[in-house]
């Protein structure tokens, strides 16, 4: 209860973090989600001695998600973060910008929340590293890929019968006067409005309260990377490769762009999902081997009635996610 009285102190937590680098060896504890995995990878990357990342054992540095928000605990000191992501606490450098964006974005997606004040400040700071900001549609990668693919790849918002369906996505673009090469930027005002109208009417079948403001937001880009897509990518990597996948995202410079390709390739296989309600989990027959992304979609489709894990079934293979075992 008392925590309600507190103000979040991410700055202090951020400062405290530098203390960890003077340890000879250490370990970090936190939940198994992309934000913490990236956070701990970035710390590990610069740590000199042996460093462990644990999901169960007590460690000197702990990232904790409690009911009233996130906490960073270092030895005896506890820092309240509010809903701010752990990745947002790390020093902003050109090398680490992509992983930090990925961590923040994944957290926004998974917790279905907006940027905190602190995170907004972090992103503003990132503008001097050439982070570009624009107000536009919440469709992934629209600067890089044709519009119909952006729609096709969109998982949040998931546009029923259109997202994950190549023909329907392309059909939609054609209907507003575009073709398979048209990019979002090529649309004129009228086409854009018509697109937004179509998207809203499609989504509103599931969520009647959806408005234009839910679809248009501040969008961030860094080089070829789309902040929003990096969030999806992180969730995808977590499910596919676990910690090593996000560790590589955080530490190998060429890895993120290689993985964006893999991620898009995977989505290009099309997205069908048939959900079965099992006793302990939801089983989703699909081509997308990421239970957490499927969970996200199913939730939007209103198919998740009770909170329990999603298990993907791709071909004969059952794919669970450690994300749900937290």
């Amino acid at each position: 209860m008392e925590n309600f009285l507190r103000d979040p102190v991410p700055e202090e937590a951020s400062k405290q973090l530098s203390a960890i680098y003077s340890e000879r060896q250490t370990c970090l504890k936190g939940p198994f989600d992309p934000d913490f995995l990236i956070f701990s990878s970035l710390i590990s990357k610069y740590f000199k001695g042996d460093i462990g990342v644990s999901f169960k054992e007590p460690c000197p540095l702990r990232a904790e998600r409690r009911e009233n928000g996130n906490y960073l605990v270092y030895k005896d000191a506890e820092y309240y973060l509010g809903p701010s992501s752990f990745s947002s606490l790390l020093p902003l450098t050109l090398d680490d910008l992509v992983p930090i964006l990925s961590g923040i974005s994944s957290d926004l997606i998974l917790r279905r929340r907006k940027l905190t004040e602190w995170e907004r400040k972090v992103l503003n700071n990132a503008e001097r590293l050439n982070l570009k900001v624009e107000k536009s549609l919440r469709l992934p990668g629209y600067n890089e890929v044709p519009l119909f693919l952006s729609i096709y790849y969109s998982l949040d918002p998931f546009i029923p019968e259109i997202s994950g369906n190549r023909e329907n996505s392309l059909k939609l673009v054609r209907e507003i006067g575009g073709n398979e090469f048209t990019k979002l930027g090529d649309l004129d005002e009228a086409q854009l409005n018509s697109l937004i109208f179509r998207l809203i009417s499609s989504i509103s079948r599931l969520n009647p309260k959806v408005t234009r403001d839910d679809l248009i937001e501040e969008r961030f880009f860094f080089g070829n990377f789309d902040f929003l897509e990096l969030g999806f990518l992180s969730i995808f990597l977590m499910d596919l490769y676990g910690y090593p996948g996000l560790f590589r995202l955080a530490s190998e410079p060429s890895y993120p762009s290689e993985m964006v390709v893999v991620y898009r390739e995977t989505l290009s296989r099309g997205l069908t999902l048939s959900l079965q309600d099992s006793k302990d989990y939801y089983l989703v027959e699909t081509s997308l081997p990421s239970p957490t992304l499927l969970y996200l979609i199913a939730k939007q489709l209103g198919k998740i009635k009770v909170e329990k894990p999603v298990v993907a079934k791709v071909g004969d293979k059952l794919i669970p996610s450690r994300y749900f075992s937290r």
Binding site: R24, T26, D50, G52, V53, E57
Partner: protein, 142 residues
Amino acid sequence: MLARELKGEEAEVITEEEAEEAISAFRKVRGKRDKVHDAELKVYSEIAESLFEVRLMKVVEGKRLDSSFDSWIQEVVTKMREFYVNLLTGGYVTKGNKVLCHVKTEVAHGGISLKPGDYLLTPAKTALYLWLQDLVEPARSS
């Protein structure tokens, strides 16, 4: 034993029992420290050293030690070889000279204690040693 070893191309089988016999004979020698026994110990220590070297070489050449008391030489070489290849051809997740390891069995390493499912980033050498003990598994990059 070394005589047999030098003659054959294959690695000879040296059972636990044969090894123990040798060990207890040498214990007696070690009990008596004088000029003769010190010299004897030196001669046989060198022979044991050569026995090790010849057998290790044979293992590298692909011979097997399965049922011998020193079959761990084979295990070490096999795992070192695999580790080396994966390390050098980018098969492991690394950062500088450190390798990311997946913890398989509860492990207390230095001041860090970790549970199965946790991860450890540690110099290649330590990663190899922990892997030899099956405490961890280096994380594959693909």
